[in-house]
């Protein structure tokens, strides 16, 4: 079967943050931004609709959300309508699925939306809901949510590779500095290492500013087959490669702590499909749910040798002027992390970066971009590689 070339032709996001807006308001706002990004695009062009969202049943007491979102955006799907859930990596997973659907010829134009309304009037309720992300019967019974999980990952990485608390903090400082220049970001004020240390201790060794926040937000993109691309935009980004690998859900079965072998597998497959190497990547949006995550991702994505992620941030190699600019949009730490919208927001950042529309956070001459989205106890990894030109 012929594999068709596929591009992202439109994209827009809501403002991320603690929003005075409903789930549907957020979807409307992101949809408007997406339509406005490609004036030739109308709801009638869209044949397929995927909604990436994680727990609307809990946060907003709503299920059957893909038809609700499609309806909100004026879309009447004729070839595909479904919801995609893979916790924090739902967004990239939905993009990967839409890619496959278009590449294989089952549809020409698919809208991929992502949304999460996470703030509830009682903050404790939101935290309670996140317990459902772990293995409820065997892990959540101990109170395990994301911060202690990644704190334990950090403890192992610090023990095995000598990674320091300052190196962790530097990730947050970089991403907050970048997010300050991103109009949709939840946090738009740069911080210092001292401010990271002074923020509340959440789970040793992670302070509050080592963690991404709770976020409301939505993001929408449209993918199209090559022969439809020019109908919508002169500034597409092309999907060169994608990879995904999983490792399970129960904390005891995680196939690595300081090592993330499933990320290595996903990255290898994506690089191979795209025909590029780690050193070819100009700009990357990676899953910095916690500062330790970004450090391990430098290593497993092949940006540096195993164990040298701490040094990589310290030497500025993931910053402007370095080897690869990582999280120019602020990452999850600064842009925020509305679960289902994150992977979609990563793609939008890359579309802006590859076409010189990223304002004062623009990475000069960026041509090849990578996004990485993880879920669970760092077990499931989804990667997309985009190019400014078709390949």
């Amino acid at each position: 079967m012929e594999i068709r070339r596929v591009a992202v032709v439109a994209g827009g996001a809501s403002k991320f943050g603690a929003r005075q807006a409903t789930y549907r308001d957020l979807i409307s706002e992101a949809g408007k931004a997406c339509y406005d990004s490609a004036p030739g695009l109308s709801p009638n062009d869209i044949e397929g609709f995927l909604l990436s969202t994680v727990m609307p049943e809990r946060f907003v007491f709503q299920t059957h959300v893909a038809p609700l979102a499609a309806e909100t955006l004026g879309v009447t799907p004729s070839k595909l309508v479904a919801r995609v859930e893979l916790l924090c990596a739902s967004g990239s997973s939905a993009i990967r699925l839409a890619y496959g659907f278009i590449a294989s010829g089952l549809a020409d134009v698919i809208m991929v939306a992502g949304a999460e309304k996470m703030y509830t009037p009682n903050p404790a309720e939101t935290v309670h809901h996140t317990l459902a992300a772990g293995d409820r019967e065997w892990d959540a019974i101990h109170g395990l949510t994301a911060p202690p999980s990644f704190a334990m990952v950090a403890q192992r990485h610090m023990k095995e590779y000598g990674t320091t608390k300052e190196q962790l903090a530097l990730v947050s400082v970089k991403n907050r500095r970048n997010g300050a220049r991103n109009p949709i970001a939840q946090f738009r004020k740069p911080i210092t290492v001292e401010e990271v240390y002074a923020s509340k201790l959440v789970a040793k060794p992670l302070n509050l500013f080592d963690c991404c926040p709770i976020t409301d937000g939505a993001a929408v993109i449209v993918l199209a087959a090559e022969h439809r691309v020019k109908d919508f935009t002169n500034e597409p980004i092309w999907i060169w490669g994608t990879g995904q690998a999983g490792g399970g859900n129960n904390a005891a079965n995680v196939p690595g702590w300081a090592e993330w072998p499933r990320l290595r597998v996903a990255a290898k497959n994506a690089y191979q499909m795209a025909g590029v190497a780690p050193e070819d990547i100009d700009v990357a949006e990676v899953h910095d749910c916690f500062t330790i995550s970004e450090i391990i991702e430098y290593e497993e994505l092949g940006f540096c040798a195993k164990g040298e992620g701490g040094k990589f941030i310290e030497e500025g190699r993931s910053d402007y002027g370095g080897q690869v600019v990582v999280n120019p949009g602020g990452g999850l730490i600064s842009r925020g992390h509305p679960f289902g919208a994150t992977g979609i927001a990563q793609a939008i950042e890359m579309k802006q970066q590859l076409h010189g529309h990223a304002g004062d956070r623009q990475v000069p001459n960026a041509e090849i971009a990578l996004t990485h989205n993880l879920s669970g106890f760092a077990t499931e990894h989804t990667i997309m590689i985009y190019g400014r030109e078709p390949k």
Partner: protein, 150 residues
């Protein structure tokens, strides 16, 4: 609090703990054993695979026949942390948690009780503790505590 809760209809989706009784759970023997102070898991009677958590389908050979075996009472900390902010509503700070490892290589996520920050050390020996789940149903949950001298 438990008295007031018992006047409300039971809402399973706000309950952190699973339903443990035989009418609700094929792994009910785990909880029956735990009530007697024994930590157990399943062993596949076809290929001998020992998983954690216990399972009704062997991921190794796909058999659904299993027996129950006892796990060691002691383990060592593989990684650990103490959460001091943002714990879910039914838990209290400080919330001590660890991934522990048994001699046979099996690992298990657990909370740590009767613990201080001085005990949070990779390699520290810990032993089984059994806790009652608060509330109207009679339920138990496993935990570990540091092994103290003598």
């Amino acid at each position: 609090m438990s008295e007031r809760m018992s006047e409300q209809p039971y809402i399973n989706t706000m309950d952190v703990y699973p339903l443990e009784a035989a009418e609700q759970n094929k792994l009910y023997k785990f909880y029956d054993s735990l009530r007697e102070g024994r930590l157990t898991t399943t062993k596949c009677t076809s290929c001998g695979h020992i998983p954690w958590p216990p399972r009704t389908l062997c991921p190794n050979c796909t058999s659904d026949e299993f027996e129950w075996i006892d796990l060691p009472r002691k383990a060592r900390i593989y990684s650990c942390t103490v959460q001091t902010a943002g714990v879910p509503p039914v838990f209290e700070i400080p919330l001590y948690m660890a991934m522990v490892e048994f001699d046979n290589g099996l690992r298990m996520l657990t909370r740590l009780v009767e613990t201080t920050e001085d005990d949070l050390e990779i390699g520290r020996e810990v032993e089984l503790a059994v806790l009652e789940v608060p509330g109207p149903m009679s339920r138990v949950v496993h935990a570990f505590k540091p092994v103290r001298g003598n």
